[in-house]
């Protein structure tokens, strides 16, 4: 029998932080959407923002993206304060946000087009990512000819092709069917392992959050604040097929449900 491996008893002293939000508040008139919210997102890992609807998770994501301005507080990416959208971040939209009048190729290249990359170069890069997400052969198709899952692959390829360090995903799988979503989740795990990017992932699905995340930030609503941060320890090394029956997975799902249950109306 092989020697039991000695577990390295290290929590890395100071994890490398790619994105941090400090004391973010966001008010819409009298309504406090976010209050004094501080969070850190370790580099190369996937952090989920999980919470009941109306808890401001999409608002927080859009503030990190620079699409919304916080009422107070600040966002830092690589130590630099965010003042608006930037090349260090790319966004994946819940409803895909594809140009219905443009082919898959132009849609995937659109991020590069807006960043001023020359046509031949951006199309070459787009073609590579279209292949990577498994849409090879659909370059000249139009969004309305694709299924929901394929459309989100286009959205994902567009975000990947600009090669930003931070990938912001706003409930990216909520508009696709269950089987497609499971496949996406598996692909996402692989993506996190392969690409050295920081993922910030908004979801309202507890199972999804536990399945894909290195770190889960649970937000509670009215006004929104971080109630808990959970870091599943042993799930990353598991085979994708075994995660869902792992006891740690099941325990965390139960624990999160116990704390969110009171907020579901």
């Amino acid at each position: 029998m092989a020697m039991p491996q000695i577990k390295e008893a290290v929590a890395p002293a100071e994890p490398d932080i790619a994105v941090s939000t400090r004391n973010i508040s966001k008010n819409y008139g009298d309504v406090e959407a976010l209050k004094d919210l501080s969070l850190e997102f370790p580099r190369g890992q996937l952090t989920s923002l999980l919470g009941p609807s109306g808890c401001g998770k999409t608002t927080l994501l859009k503030i990190i993206a620079g699409l919304l301005e916080p009422t107070s507080g600040e966002v830092e990416v690589d130590g630099k304060a965010v003042t608006g959208p930037g090349e260090d971040r790319a966004f994946v939209f819940q409803d895909f946000a594809l140009l219905p009048w443009a082919s898959v190729l132009r849609n995937v290249a659109f991020g590069l087009e807006l960043r001023g990359v020359a046509k031949s170069e951006r199309e070459a890069r787009a073609a590579k990512y279209i292949n990577d997400v498994g849409l090879g052969g659909f370059e000249n198709a139009f969004p309305h000819e694709l299924s929901g899952g394929m459309r989100q692959r286009v959205g994902l390829a567009r975000a990947l092709s600009v090669d930003s360090q931070v990938l912001l995903m706003d409930e990216p799988f909520s508009a696709v069917d269950e089987q497609t979503r499971r496949k996406f989740q598996e692909d996402l795990l692989e993506l996190v392992a392969v690409e050295n990017k920081t993922f910030i992932f908004v979801t309202h699905s507890i199972e999804e959050a536990v399945y894909v995340s290195d770190q889960i930030a649970i937000l509670l609503p009215r006004p929104s604040r971080v109630s808990e941060i959970i870091r599943p320890a042993g799930l990353r090394d598991k085979d994708v097929d075994n995660i869902r029956r792992d006891s740690e997975y099941l325990d965390i799902v139960d624990r999160i449900w116990a704390s969110l249950r009171n907020y579901v109306e």
């Binding site: 790319a90 966004f91 939209f93 409803d95 946000a97 009048w101 960043r115 309305h144």
Partner: protein
């Protein structure tokens, strides 16, 4: 449409009306309705005549210039109104007033302001066409999907880029619909202008023929005008169908 199993070609109903016209004309029912065959033969005679060519040029010039200004001013104005709440609040009441106003009554004012020449006719034409173009472009922009705009912003689009790469295309189906209706209204505008402001172009022909009771000439010019308006409108309807594949899925 099919009758007794036969598939009728498009616009066959026109044949029935043409036949009816011919019968009423031949019956001598009214001096003002000559038989269609007379009208058509007059049409063939009139078309190459220098008077007609000159009128066609004058009307075509005023019409195209008027439509041009209506389109290049109307579309951006409508897009800005759809994008910007403040501009919208400022301009919308005026657009609605002018859309429903009897513009013909304004023509004398234009004559005082801009004189009796081509300029006033072009402005009249523009005024007939522009309001519906503005309103449609505005409606097209207002139904645009928010996340397309977020998407463009997140990739760092400049205002000009989002205008030309997102707003314009997203509103294109509505814009084309507006231009099509605007052009039909511009035909009205250019003829009213040429009748009221200075008697030139087709307006002059109408005036000349009706004053001299040349009814088949009168109808011939009217048919030419109708055919031109119909052709342009059908061409735009064709363009609209080209973009309709995404009109429902934005």
């Amino acid at each position: 449409m099919t009758i007794w199993g036969y598939r009728l070609p498009g616009m066959s109903s026109l044949l029935i009306w043409a036949l009816l016209w011919e019968i009423v004309g031949r019956s001598g029912y009214s001096f003002f309705v000559p038989p269609l065959s007379d009208v058509v033969s007059t049409l063939i005679q009139v078309l190459p005549s220098p008077a007609f060519q000159k009128a066609l040029y004058e009307t075509g010039y005023a019409f195209l210039a008027g439509v041009f200004f209506a389109v290049v001013i109307g579309i951006p104005t409508g897009i800005f109104m759809g994008k910007n709440r403040l501009i919208d609040e400022l301009l919308l009441p005026w657009v609605n007033i002018f859309l429903s106003a009897p513009l013909t009554a304004l023509v004398p004012v234009l004559m005082v302001l801009f004189g009796f020449g081509m300029k006033s006719i072009i402005i009249t034409t523009t005024l007939f066409a522009i309001w519906i173009i503005i309103l449609n472009a505005r409606a097209g922009v207002m139904q645009i999907n928010r996340s397309l705009i977020d998407m463009a912003n997140s990739f760092g689009a400049s205002p000009w880029e989002s205008f030309t790469k997102i707003y314009f295309w997203a509103a294109l189906p509505e814009i084309l619909g507006g231009v099509r209706i605007g052009i039909i209204r511009a035909v009205k505008g250019v003829i009213i202008g040429q009748l009221l402001i200075s008697i030139v172009g087709f307006g002059a022909l109408f005036e000349l023929y009706s004053a001299n009771f040349l009814m088949s000439h009168f109808w011939a010019v009217l048919i030419v005008l109708f055919a031109m308006a119909f052709t342009i409108s059908e061409f735009l309807a064709y363009l609209e169908r080209r973009v309709s594949y995404y009109a429902a899925k934005r």
